[in-house]
């Protein structure tokens, strides 16, 4: 496998599915949060997941990057089996080493940043590559500075997270995820904690990443972003995928009444 910018291309030169999730079921206590959800994310694609609060969007994201375990179904990341369900209904996760390896293939940007407050900006970005991937510090520093410059944060490298604005903090958390060179990035409502001005700042960064063909799956309430940047939009409600398709279709002539009803608030 070789890497061009953010794209992974397999030996045959074809783009591959980064995420293949099939028939996912997930319950929290008595509440069925995900019911038979299947999603794919292809190489270089930007997928936006929209829908009302409590529809299971964030849970889906958490299942896809191992923050929550599924009850049944299967998930493959870059062709590697993370979890599958046998015919007798037993849900089996891969072993610890494999899960760790799969974990590093994807990055996650949190709604409330979750930077490490006791590390400087540069250390926030460098620590995982150095400590987890055991990469040489000099090489990591070079790469971290490159990313910081790209995200217009080079002058903040020695600053601590509490000194950053929300927009800067979120950009640092994107930089931190990118430093591990993941095959794709998940975003869990990355702008929900930001004011409109800072939201634009972050959406611009995400747009640039999309231009660079970074594979992304974005749970968002920013309909304008979903409409203009996403290659595909998934609409979820009550734990099921109600409709899925190109943004032009979803936003102008959705098949489902539920989608129509939800989106009418945004067109007003």
């Amino acid at each position: 496998m070789q890497r061009k910018n953010w794209i992974i291309i397999n030996d045959a030169g074809e783009e591959m599915a980064v995420i293949e999730a099939k028939n996912i079921y997930k319950k929290y206590g008595d509440v069925q949060v995900l019911t038979d959800v299947s999603v794919d994310v292809n190489e270089g694609e930007v997928v936006a997941v929209i829908g009302p609060s409590g529809s299971g969007k964030s849970t889906l994201l958490r299942c896809l990057n191992q923050l929550t375990q599924i009850d049944s179904g299967s998930i493959e990341v870059c062709g590697e089996k993370m979890v599958h369900t046998e015919e007798n209904g037993v849900c089996k996760y891969a072993d610890k080493a494999k899960l760790h390896q799969i974990q590093l293939k994807t990055g996650l940007v949190f709604q409330n940043f979750q930077l490490f407050p006791h590390f400087s900006v540069l250390k926030n970005i460098m620590d995982a590559p150095v400590q987890v991937l055991k990469m040489p510090e000099e090489q990591v520093r070079e790469k971290a500075m490159e990313i910081l410059e790209k995200l217009d944060l080079a002058d903040k490298k020695d600053v601590y997270p509490f000194q950053l604005s929300g927009g800067q903090a979120q950009r640092v958390s994107i930089a931190r995820a990118l430093a591990l060179s993941p095959a794709m990035l998940f975003f869990d409502e990355p702008t929900s904690a930001l004011d409109p001005e800072l939201t634009v700042e972050i959406l611009r960064v995400m747009k640039d990443l999309a231009k660079d063909k970074m594979t992304m799956m974005v749970v968002t309430h920013e309909m304008a972003f979903a409409q203009s940047v996403a290659d595909r939009v998934i609409f979820m409600d009550k734990g099921v995928v109600v409709e899925e398709g190109k943004p032009e279709k979803i936003f102008t002539s959705p098949d489902s009444d539920r989608v129509k009803q939800f989106l009418q608030y945004f067109s007003e």
Binding site: N65, L67, P117, Q131, V132, Y160
Partner: protein
């Protein structure tokens, strides 16, 4: 008895008090960490006995615990504790570990789940998550309550005299009863105060050192 004659045993007592203080800190701090993790364990056969131990240590007077540790071996093995000093250390460590553990637990539980999740998605192992991400933040948060405990311990060392450890306070009362003067008690008070003045300075310094982040 002139002043320098009085000061000799007083200073010897101070050294013994300091030995109790430092040994207790040195042993109770790591032990408290194990107790804290045991208390937070989801396995009931670990967490319930530990909770009971903590309740016992925090729920009964330290002075009573000292007596117990010193005399109980006599009823079980027929011989009392060989060294009064060791008995005192055992009692102090058991008692303070219980308190330290609660402070650690409070600190650890005050770190939100988001930090653990961020560490997990970045590929940190459980051990790395604790040593690199959680513990450093906990240290900053527990400094004020730990300062409290340290200062209390300086004064609590005086309780060791109940099982015959001749530390600072016992020396002061000995001289007082011999000379019918309260000067030794005043001097002892000043020494305890100065020691805690140093402890306070130390903690202020540590807090200042960790002031660079929030």
């Amino acid at each position: 008895m002139d002043f320098s004659q009085m000061m000799r045993p007083m200073l010897q007592g101070t050294v013994l008090s300091l030995e109790i203080f430092f040994l207790t800190i040195l042993l109770a701090m790591p032990l408290g960490l194990f107790v804290a993790f045991g208390r937070m364990s989801k396995i009931k056969i670990i967490s319930v006995p530990i909770r009971f131990y903590q309740l016992l240590m925090r729920g009964t007077p330290l002075i009573l615990q000292l007596m117990f540790v010193f005399f109980v071996p006599y009823y079980i093995f027929g011989t009392p504790f060989k060294s009064r000093f060791t008995a005192a250390i055992v009692a102090f460590v058991l008692n303070y570990a219980a308190y330290f553990a609660e402070i650690y637990r409070g600190g650890i539980e005050s770190i939100g789940p988001g930090q653990y999740e961020a560490a997990k998605v970045l590929g940190y192992s459980k051990m790395q998550t604790y040593t690199r991400i959680i513990i450093p933040q906990v240290v900053k948060r527990i400094l004020p309550p730990m300062g409290n405990e340290f200062m209390t311990l300086v004064k609590d060392t005086a309780l060791a005299q109940t099982i015959g450890v001749v530390e600072l306070y016992r020396n002061a009362t000995n001289i007082t009863s011999r000379t019918s003067s309260i000067t030794p008690l005043i001097v002892a008070g000043i020494i305890y105060f100065v020691l805690n003045f140093i402890v306070e300075k130390f903690f202020l310094r540590a807090e200042k050192k960790l002031d660079y982040y929030q």
